[in-house]
Every structure is written in C-alpha cells, then in structure tokens.
C-alpha cells in the first residue's frame, strides 16, 4: 500500500503542473498516476499554442499570467535547452461584420488589461504574412506576444522539477476504481493500491470516468480534434494564423515544420483518436487556399486527440462539494495547454487553502446547477 498526502490522476501538462506547484509550496508527499506515458493524452497531441487574445477579463488575465510564466519557464524549472517558445504572434482573421465587431470589442478589453493587441487591415496582415490570401478578409487582430511551445518539453520540465522536490510519478499505472472511507480515498490501479485524503482528477478526456468512480457526474465529454505536421522547411511563417470562419489554425514551429488543425462542428461526442482521410483533404484544401505557398510542402504525419469539452467550454477547477477532498481540474475545451502554469498554481492554492492569485469562483462545478455559465465569445 502506498500512502500519500495527495494523489493526482493524469500525467498531462495539467497533472504535472499541479504536482510541481504543490511541491513548490511544501506539499511534497504527492503521487501522480498516469495510465501510459507522460503527455500520452491531449497534451502530447496538441497544437501547444498560447494567446492573450480572449474575449473575457477572466481568460485574458489567466492567459496573461500563464504566458508570462511560460516565457520564463526554463529558468523557473531549471530546464536546460528550454521549452522551444516561439512568440511570432497570433493573427486572428475576421471575415464577417459580426466577427469584426466582436474582435474590436475583445481588443478594447485586452488593451484595458495591458495586453498589446491591435487591429490590422488586410494590407497590414500581408506585411505580417506576405503570402496570405486576403480575398474576403475584412481585417484581423494581432498580438505579437502570442505564440507556441513544445508540449512534451513543458510537461517534462514540470515533471522533472516535481520529482526533484520529492513527487513520485508512476507511469503505465491505470486508475481502475476509487473507494472512499471517511476522508481516506483508496485508489485501485493496474499496479497496486494507493491511498490519500486528497485526490485530484486531471484525467483530461477521461475525467468523467474518474468522476463516476466516486459517484460524481462531471459534464466533461471527449471530442476528437485532428491535426497534422509537415516536413520542416525554411522559416517563412511568423505568427500562428487562426480563422474561426474556416475553423482552422496553422503555425510553423522553430523546428521548421508546419502544424495545423481543423475543428469539425459535426464531430460526435465520443472518445476517438483515429485520424481520417477526409480531414487530410479538407485541411489541405483550406490551408492551400489561405496560404498558397504551402502547396509544395509535404505532410509527414497526421493524428488526433480529444478536447475535454465542458458545456460552456471553460474548465472546471476546484473541490467537488459532495466529496470533500476530491478535486477536479478538467474540461479545458481546447485551451488547457496555455493556461497550465496557472492551473497548477491555482489548484495548489485551492488544495492548500491559500488565497488564490486570481479569482476562481467562475470555474466551480456548481455553475452548471445554478446556471451561471461562463460565456467566452472567443473560442475555436
């Protein structure tokens, strides 16, 4: 029997960040349980983009704090070689008057919070991305401090720093059931039994399954998202180009390869990480139209991962009122990578009963019963 103070279920960027932040605050008797290898879930399959350009104060501040941490993550966690941060900006394209109006509202909010984002005309957009097809484009918003990082390295950096502080990480250890007696939780896994008074559910697309093990109904469902990567070529694309209209994003990594993905509004809500031929051809059509120079670049690999979707596309962070000592950090709905530094910090603060750095009430599970949903206008 392995007895700990805290057990974290899930070895993605969220679980590893929570473990590190707990240990850094003195709570070192922590075990992370991961069914496969670290980053085997959404984290290792994601676009790993980060942006300040959000439409609510909460998300702008969350992103701003988290990105400031990502920028200095290698020093904070003593991770030689760095986490491959590229800050080429996000260029978010507007094609309808409604989008333009919403984006301009978002900009006013962002600027009031000290975020340096601006409106650019189609001509200015071409100065930022010279080969952009501007047909039908009304304009775009641009924030030069947005960008992306390497999700494997960010997670590895948190995991290593956590281990140095005494956290135990058990990979290839699948949680199969949880029993509760008094305040003690017994977690039964494919590799033995673990016990702790505090259990944190950071299982991403599997969070609802873990919730069911303690009789809690979590409104978090998996939704497949597909993505592909090309061969590396010389650096030609500075920013992440994002179009809510086409439901696509495309970026060039420091390594030279392009990573791009599409959202499919008709995707069924189920656990599915297979990739499809249809995605490959639709993605190619849309991206070659938008960025014609890409037509001669070769795709080397395609894959899929799941978004852990919540009803209002915002995470659930905090304790489950009916099960004291059982905490949730899931429902990230496609943007959990970029906020992971703050998710870890806020969850550690909540668990340790410390004042939280940013307000967290709007992320409580109870919002789905009271109906006070959190509405963010700016999501893919």
């Amino acid at each position: 029997m392995n007895r700990h103070e805290v057990i974290i279920i899930g070895g993605g960027v969220t679980g590893c960040s929570i473990a590190y932040h707990l240990a850094a605050r003195g709570m070192k008797d922590v075990a992370v349980l991961e069914r496969a290898y670290l980053t085997s879930g959404a984290t290792g399959r994601c676009g790993a983009g980060f942006r300040h350009q959000w439409g609510t104060k909460t998300n702008c501040l969350l992103a701003k704090h988290a990105i400031a941490r990502l920028e200095r993550l290698a020093e904070e966690l003593d991770y030689p070689g760095g986490v491959e941060i590229k800050q080429g900006g996000y260029l978010i394209l507007a094609y309808t008057p409604k989008m333009e109006e919403q984006f301009k509202k978002n900009l006013a909010l962002q600027r009031s919070l000290g975020i340096d984002a601006r409106w650019v005309t189609p001509r200015e957009a071409r100065e930022i991305v010279p080969f952009l097809n501007t047909e039908g484009l009304l304009g775009a918003t641009f924030c030069a401090k947005d960008g992306h990082a390497n999700p494997f390295k960010v997670t590895d950096a948190y995991a290593r720093a956590a281990r140095r502080l005494g956290v135990k990480i058990h990979t290839y250890t699948e949680v199969q059931d949880i029993k509760i007696e008094g305040s003690l939780k017994t977690v039964i896994t494919s590799r033995g039994t673990f016990q702790a008074p505090v259990v944190v559910n950071a299982a991403g697309g599997h969070a609802a399954e873990i919730g069911r093990m303690v009789g809690v109904d979590l409104p978090v469902v998996p939704e497949r998202h597909q993505i592909l990567v090309t061969e590396p070529v010389e650096q030609v694309l500075g920013p992440m180009v994002m179009s809510f209209y086409h439901n696509l994003y495309c970026q060039q990594t420091p390594h030279g390869s392009f990573i791009m993905g599409l959202g499919d509004p008709n995707e069924p809500k189920e656990y599915n990480v297979r990739s499809s031929w249809q995605f490959l051809s639709q993605m190619a059509q849309k991206v070659v139209w938008l960025l014609p120079v890409l037509k001669n670049v070769r795709v080397v690999r395609q894959w899929a991962g799941v978004y852990d979707m919540s009803p209002d596309r915002q995470p659930v962070l905090g304790e489950v009122p009916e099960v004291p000592g059982f905490y949730v950090a899931a429902g990230f709905s496609g943007h959990g990578f970029m906020i992971a530094p703050m998710t870890g910090q806020l969850m550690a603060e909540i668990i340790l009963g410390l004042p939280t750095t940013l307000p967290v009430d709007m992320f409580s599970l109870s919002r789905f019963t009271t109906g006070e949903l959190f509405v963010e206008p700016s999501v893919v």
Binding site: Y37, R298, W303
Partner: protein
Amino acid sequence: MEDKTIVCRCEDVTLEEIRQAIAGGARTLDEIKRLKRCGMGPCQGRTCRPLIAGELSRITGQDQASLTLPTFRPPVIPLKLGTLARGGAKNEQA
C-alpha cells in the same frame, strides 16, 4: 557504436542523445520519440526505430521483441498539401 553516431538521420539525433534520454528515465520508444523527435522525420522512424530499440533493450535489459512500437501514423509516404488539396494523391506522384 560511437556516441556521436547519428541514429536518426531525418532529425539528426545522435546515439548520445538517445542514451541521455534513457539515463533520464525513458523506458519506452514512445517516450524517447517525444523528447528527442527521433521517429518524427519524413521516414517516420523506419530507419532509426530498430537502432533505438536495440539500444533501449541493451541498456535496460528489456527484450527487444517485447518493446511496444509507437503508432504508425498516416500518410504512409509524405504527400504534398497541394496534391491532397486537389483530392488526388492516389495515382499521382507525391
């Protein structure tokens, strides 16, 4: 083999880097691939996978045949986005 020997030609990964990853705790081909990129190049690991598997089994004593292989992901050969956009590829030169 020499430490500086390149085992993954597509991504320029040396034997030394593979040994570092294993010394850092990696025990599976999936973990090494994600930290070092070996297996992510245009050949998708056809060249380097057996070499890395051999090194992993030599250092950790795991039976080479029992190592789990990373998922083989499509497409089977690199295809141009322009070709894919035209819906072609099946009979066209990639």
